[in-house]
C-alpha cells in the first residue's frame, strides 16, 4: 500500500491530494496468468471430452480402468475409465470415455470388441497386444441413431472399417466344418470369408453369410454357384487315385468356393445380399439347374436290401433324381409288407428331351394336374419303375424307370399325392423267380423211378452183353475163318499159271478169231451186198473170198 504524506511548505497554494484507496500492483498479473493457464487447461480438457459410453462384456479379461485404450485403425479414440460388474453380476460393464472426434462412434450399430492375442486354425491375430496389453477395438456404424450402451463382441468382427465388398446369404442343410472366418475361394484364391451363420427361422437349415471383398465381388454373378470345399476329396477313378483340396486352411477350418458354369450367357454381377444355395461339391453345384422337383412314390413287393436314401433314380439310363425315403408299409388287403420308396425327380435334368416335350405337348411346368396327367399317359404306355442292382459287389440298388409296353396294365390314380409309379420286380429278382420255377420243376421229376428203371435197364444190358460174349462171338470167329478161306481160293484162282487162266486165254483167242471172220464177212457184204439176197455166186474166184489184208 502506498500512502502519500502531504508536504507542508510555504507555497501559495495547496493542491488537494487524492489518495487512491486501492492501488493494484503489476505483480497480480502473475497469479492471473497462472489462473488463466489453469482455466485454459480445464477448458481444453472439457472441450476434448467426448461422449461417455458403457460397454458390456462377458468378462473383464484385459480391461483395466484408466489404462485400456479404445482404438480405431490403431488410433486411440478413448480409454476405459471404469470397469465394474453389472448389477446382476452376469457381465462386466466398462465405462469408456471417448475423445471429442470419436463422437460418431456412438452410432447405434458401432461395434466394440477386445483385441487380444488369438491363435486359431484360421490364423494368428493380435500378437502386438502380447506386449502392449489388450485394447478395445472399435468399428464405426452407419446408423443415424445414437446409443450410450453397447454390447461388446466376444470375437473381432471379420469385416471392419467399412471394407468394400458384398455380402451374400447361402442356404445349406448343415454348417459342416465351416465357421466364422472360413475362407471363400474363387479359382482357389481366397477372396472373402464367412462372417456369420444362423439357423433358419424354422430350424430346418442354416443360413451362412459370406463377405466377398472388392474388387473380386464382381465375379459373383447371377449364375454363380457356391459349394463346400471343406476337407479332402479323395476319389478313385479309372484314371487312378485323385486327392483334391482347396488349400491347407480349408482342409482344417473349411471353406467355400464359388464359380459360374462355363457357359453362362447374360451374366451380370449379383446384387448385394442375394440368396444362394450351398452345394456339397463342385460337380453338383455346376450341374444344370434342377428345376422343379417332382415327388413320386413307388411300392415294391420285394425286399430292397441295398437301396439307400440318395440312391440315384434313372430314366432310360439318365440320372434325374434320387431316393429320399425307404419305408416299410403294411398292406391291409394282402396282409403283406410292401416297401414304399419316395423319390424326387427333376425332369429338367433330362435336358433337351424335357424342353422339346414341353413345347410339343404345350405343357405348362407349373400346372401340377397336367403334369400328373402326363405321367398317367406315360404309365399307360408302360412306364414302370424297377429296383436294379447297380453294383453286383456291394449290392447297391438304384431305381430305374423305363417303358415296358408288355407290362400288365395298372390302374393309375391321378389324385394320389405324391404320384404313385407302378413297379416291376427287379431284373435280378426276375432271374431268381425263373430259376426258382426251374428248380421246382426239377423237384417234381420222378427221379427215383427213373433211377430204378435205369438200373433195371443196365442189368438187362449186362445180361445181353454176356450172351453176346458167349454165343455170338464164336460164330463170328468161324465166319471170319470161312471168309479167309474163300479169299485164299479166290487168290489161287487168279494166279499166273492156273488152268482157269489158260482157258481164259484160249477163250480170248477164239473170240479174237471170231471177230476177224466177222469183219471179213462184213467186208464181203460191203462189196457184194446182193449176196444177201442171191447168195454167193458160184463162179466167184476163190481169191475173192480171201480176207482183206488190213
Amino acid at each position: 500500500m502506498k500512502s502519500q504524506i502531504a508536504d507542508e511548505r510555504p507555497t501559495p497554494g495547496q493542491a488537494s491530494v487524492k489518495t487512491r484507496r486501492f492501488s493494484v500492483s503489476l505483480v497480480w498479473i502473475v497469479p492471473i496468468v497462472a489462473v488463466l493457464v489453469g482455466i485454459s487447461l480445464v477448458v481444453h480438457s472439457i472441450l476434448q471430452e467426448g461422449p461417455t459410453i458403457t460397454l458390456t462384456f462377458k468378462t473383464g479379461d484385459g480391461l483395466t480402468a484408466n489404462k485400456t485404450e479404445v482404438r480405431y485403425r490403431n488410433v486411440v479414440i478413448g480409454h476405459v475409465s471404469d470397469v465394474e460388474l453389472s448389477d446382476d453380476q452376469k457381465s462386466v460393464v466398462a465405462t469408456v470415455k471417448l475423445s471429442k472426434q470419436a463422437e460418431s462412434f456412438t452410432r447405434e450399430d458401432s461395434k466394440y470388441w477386445v483385441v487380444r492375442p488369438r491363435i486359431g486354425a484360421g490364423g494368428v491375430s493380435g500378437i502386438d497386444t502380447l506386449l502392449s496389453g489388450d485394447y478395445i477395438g472399435a468399428d464405426i456404424g452407419q446408423s443415424n441413431n445414437r446409443a450410450k450402451n453397447f454390447n461388446g463382441l466376444e470375437n473381432p468382427p471379420p469385416i471392419t472399417y467399412g471394407e468394400q465388398g458384398k455380402r451374400f446369404t447361402l442356404h445349406t442343410q448343415d454348417l459342416g466344418s465351416l465357421d466364422i472366418g472360413s475362407a471363400v475361394y474363387y479359382r482357389k484364391i481366397p477372396v472373402g470369408e464367412v462372417v456369420a451363420y444362423a439357423l433358419d427361422t424354422d430350424g430346418k437349415g442354416v443360413n451362412l453369410e459370406v463377405f466377398v471383398h472388392a474388387p473380386n465381388d464382381a465375379y459373383v454373378t447371377e449364375n454363380t454357384r457356391f459349394w463346400n470345399v471343406s476337407g479332402i476329396d479323395v476319389s478313385v477313378g479309372a484314371n487312378g487315385f485323385a486327392v483334391k483340396t482347396e488349400s491347407l486352411s480349408s482342409m482344417l477350418v473349411g471353406g467355400i468356393a464359388f464359380g459360374a458354369p462355363p457357359y453362362s450367357p447374360d451374366d451380370k454381377p449379383a446384387a448385394e445380399n442375394k440368396n444362394y444355395d450351398l452345394f456339397n461339391d463342385q460337380q453338383t453345384a455346376l450341374a444344370p439347374p434342377n428345376g422343379r422337383p417332382q415327388y413320386l412314390t413307388m411300392r415294391f413287393d420285394q425286399a430292397l436290401r441295398g437301396l439307400k436314401v440318395d440312391a440315384p433314380v434313372e430314366f432310360l439310363g439318365i440320372e434325374f433324381g434320387r431316393v429320399v425315403s425307404v419305408n416299410l408299409d403294411f398292406d391291409e388287403a394282402k396282409k403283406g409288407f410292401p416297401v414304399l420308396v419316395g423319390v424326387v425327380v427333376y425332369p429338367q435334368r433330362l435336358g433337351q428331351a424335357y424342353t422339346k416335350m414341353l413345347k410339343v405337348l404345350h405343357h405348362d411346368p407349373d400346372d401340377e394336374a397336367a403334369g400328373v396327367r402326363l405321367i398317367g399317359t406315360f404309365i399307360e404306355n408302360g412306364l414302370r419303375a424297377q429296383a436294379r442292382s447297380g453294383n453286383l459287389l456291394t449290392g447297391q440298388l438304384y431305381i430305374a424307370m423305363d417303358f415296358y409296353p408288355k407290362a400288365a396294365k395298372v390302374a393309375f390314380n391321378p389324385d394320389a399325392r405324391p404320384v404313385i409309379i407302378p413297379t416291376l420286380p427287379g431284373s435280378l429278382e426276375q432271374l431268381q423267380e425263373k430259376f426258382e420255377a426251374m428248380v421246382d420243376k426239377l423237384n417234381k421229376l420222378p427221379v427215383e423211378r427213373i433211377a430204378n428203371n435205369l438200373d433195371n435197364n443196365l442189368v438187362e444190358l449186362r445180361k445181353g452183353l454176356a450172351q453176346f460174349n458167349a454165343k455170338t462171338l464164336p460164330g463170328v470167329q468161324t465166319t471170319l475163318q470161312d471168309v479167309s478161306k474163300t479169299l485164299q481160293s479166290a487168290n489161287s484162282t487168279l494166279a499166273e499159271d492156273s488152268p482157269q487162266r489158260e482157258q481164259l486165254k484160249q477163250t480170248m483167242d477164239e473170240v479174237s478169231r471170231m471177230s476177224r471172220s466177222l469183219r471179213e464177212l462184213s467186208d464181203y457184204l460191203g462189196r457184194n451186198p446182193e449176196s444177201l439176197l442171191r447168195g454167193r455166186p458160184k463162179d466167184a474166184p476163190a481169191q475173192d473170198l480171201q480176207p482183206s489184208r488190213n
Binding site: 500500500m1 493494484v24 500492483s25 505483480v27 497480480w28 502473475v30 497469479p31 496468468v33 497462472a34 489462473v35 493457464v37 489453469g38 487447461l41 489404462k67 485404450e69 502386438d128 506386449l131 502392449s132 496389453g133 485394447y135
Partner: protein, 216 residues
C-alpha cells in the same frame, strides 16, 4: 518490550544486534560467526499475496495433473502426486505414505493457506485474526514442506527412466518446479517482517500477550 523489537539475534550464535534498514542488494552479517542476519526483501505485501495466489494455483496444477507419464511398447501409465501417495499407501510402508502426503501435499497447502490469510489482512494494514497462531504455524510447517525434495526425486526418476522407457514430464512436474521455487521465496523467514510491519491491534488481549511470551 518495545526496545526488544528493534533487536535481532543471530540464529547461529545467538549474538544480539540492532536492526538496520537495508537498501537494495544489501544484507547484514553476524560479526561473530558470519551468518546472514538480514537480507533486503524487495517484495511488498501485495506482491507476496499475489505470489501466494500464484503458488496456490500451481499447487492445484501439481496435484491434479500428472507429474509424468511413461509408456513402453504401447503400455502407458501416468501418475499425479496424489497417485504416488496412494501407491505408497497400498504397499507395505503405509507410514511412509503418510510422511510423503504431509511433506509434499499437506504442509505446502497449509503454508499457502496461512500465507494468503495473513497477507490478505496485512494488505489492509492490520493483523489477521489468530495472527500469532498463524505465524507460529508458518514457522513450524517450514521444515515439513519438502516440495523441492519431491521435485528432485521426480527429476531423478525422469532422467533414470528415460533410457528404459518413453518418459513424458507432465504439466504437474512443471507446476511442481515453479511451486517449490515460489515457496522458497514467499514462505521463507522474511515472513517475520510482518511482526514489525503490522502493529498489534489497539487493545490486544492479555491472553494473546501471554500466549506469545512462552513461545519467544
Amino acid at each position: 518490550m518495545i526496545t526488544n523489537d528493534r533487536l535481532i539475534i543471530c540464529e547461529h550464535c545467538d549474538c544480539v544486534y540492532e536492526k538496520v534498514t537495508l537498501a537494495k542488494h544489501q544484507k547484514t552479517l553476524c560479526t561473530r560467526c558470519g551468518g546472514v542476519l538480514q537480507r533486503y526483501n524487495g517484495l511488498t505485501v501485495q506482491q507476496r499475496l499475489a505470489l501466494s495466489f500464484t503458488a496456490a494455483v500451481l499447487w492445484l496444477f501439481a496435484n491434479f495433473y500428472p507429474v509424468m507419464s511413461i509408456s513402453l511398447q504401447g503400455l502407458k501409465n501416468s501418475a499425479t502426486l496424489w497417485d504416488s501417495v496412494l501407491a505408497l499407501s497400498q504397499g507395505p510402508i503405509t507410514f511412509i505414505a503418510l510422511v510423503a502426503a504431509i511433506s509434499i501435499i499437506i504442509a505446502p497447502v497449509f503454508q499457502l493457506l496461512l500465507l494468503i490469510w495473513v497477507f490478505s489482512f496485512a494488505l489492509g494494514g492490520h493483523r489477521s485474526p489468530g495472527f500469532k497462531l498463524c505465524m507460529r504455524w508458518l514457522e513450524t510447517l517450514r521444515p515439513w514442506s519438502m516440495l523441492e525434495v519431491c521435485l528432485l526425486g521426480a527429476m531423478v526418476a525422469v532422467f533414470k527412466l528415460a533410457g528404459l522407457l518413453d518418459v513424458l514430464p507432465g504439466i504437474g512436474l512443471f507446476a511442481l518446479a515453479a511451486l517449490s521455487l515460489l515457496l522458497i521465496r514467499i514462505a521463507g523467514r522474511d515472513v517475520r517482517d510482518l511482526w514489525d510491519v503490522l502493529e498489534p491491534a489497539q487493545n490486544p488481549s492479555t491472553e494473546e500477550v501471554m500466549d506469545e511470551v512462552p513461545n519467544r
